[in-house]
């Protein structure tokens, strides 16, 4: 696979930060906050604790689904940062390992990094954590299809592949 032509830090992280919440309704619904884009391309996003995100009311632990959405969004953000251009992307697959329960009453942060970007596909990893990044709640690996808007014109071949 060929390398994508544009690789690097985003043109304007602040613009991206606004778009991440304002132009993605579900990120806004979750109350996601774009905290940082580090020099190495790592993106940090925070999911504030809210009672309506809880899975088990007896323990107050946030539902895995909300962590899934946080990790997916953060991996996607890391891919955007690496692409350095705004282009539609779509998650191809997402694997999440839940390592321990999230702390009740506390926000959860996710840090993601796009570690490989090709012309059509991006690969990202992320961890979700409470206070301590070294003691994560969950880890994730995701792949994304790039430039997905509209039809590509590719017709499935006889074997049914892309």
């Amino acid at each position: 696979m060929a390398e994508a032509p544009a690789v690097g830090v985003p043109v304007d992280v602040r613009l991206f930060e606004m778009g991440f919440v304002q132009h993605v309704p579900h990120n806004r619904a979750l109350g996601l906050r774009f905290l940082a884009c580090e020099a190495g391309g790592e993106v940090v996003v925070e999911l504030p604790y809210r009672p309506e995100l809880v899975g088990n009311p007896d323990t107050g632990v946030i539902h895995g689904g909300a962590i899934t959405a946080l990790l997916d969004a953060t991996c996607g953000a890391a891919v955007f940062v690496k692409m350095s251009v705004f282009a539609p992307i779509a998650t191809l697959d997402l694997r999440i390992d839940y390592l321990k329960p999230s702390p009740a009453g506390s926000p959860v942060r996710a840090k993601a990094h796009c570690y490989r970007l090709t012309r059509h596909v991006a690969f990202a990893r992320a961890v979700a954590y409470g206070d301590d990044e070294a003691d994560p709640i969950a880890s994730a690996a995701a792949t994304f299809m790039l430039f997905t808007k509209g039809r590509s014109g590719v017709v499935p071949n006889e074997r049914g592949g892309p």
Binding site: P57, D93, R95, I96
Partner: protein, 160 residues
């Protein structure tokens, strides 16, 4: 939740055959708009479309995290419903494959328990919209089964 707590709400839902009460007892399921329903004799999770669920406004398409959350909820709901003794399933891993973009309409999900051990269950789930033959996403989840009896004996029905 006042009164008997989460486990009792789940036990009540199972006893009464009221699958909708299962998802009603889970705050996040209400937030997302996921409800367990019996449709043509089959237990399905329905994610009611709402503009808040969109990830890509240009298409528009549902947020990938929303579909992952629906599939994970479906795995838990089907396990809660199909296992005779009351257990608290905790997701260990979930792997989601996104097959098509999901449009701004209701999405359905169904789980199938493919392995039920004493400690671990494996559930395959799929989600579709208008055409069941064209799933928008599928997932495999491995869940840890924690017996509720033990937890209740240990201290007032609190979760482990």
């Amino acid at each position: 939740m006042s009164g008997g707590g989460f486990f009792e709400a789940l036990a009540r839902a199972k006893r009464g055959g009221d699958c909708g009460a299962l998802t009603e007892a889970i705050p996040y399921a209400r937030f997302l708009g996921v409800r367990a329903e019996r449709i043509a004799g089959e237990l399905l999770c329905r994610l009611a479309y709402a503009p808040d669920l969109v990830g890509n406004t240009a298409l528009p398409a549902l947020h990938g995290g929303v579909l992952g959350a629906l599939l994970e909820s479906a795995a838990v709901v089907h396990l809660l419903w199909e296992v005779d003794s009351l257990v608290l399933p905790k997701t260990i891993t979930i792997t989601v494959d996104y097959l098509r973009s999901a449009g701004p309409v209701d999405t359905f999900a169904r789980g199938r328990v493919t392995r039920l051990g004493r400690r671990i269950a494996t559930v395959q789930t799929e989600a579709w919209q208008d055409d069941r033959q064209k799933p928008v996403a599928t997932a495999v989840a491995h869940l840890l089964l924690t017996p509720v009896e033990g937890a209740a004996a240990g201290g007032g029905g609190r979760g482990p």
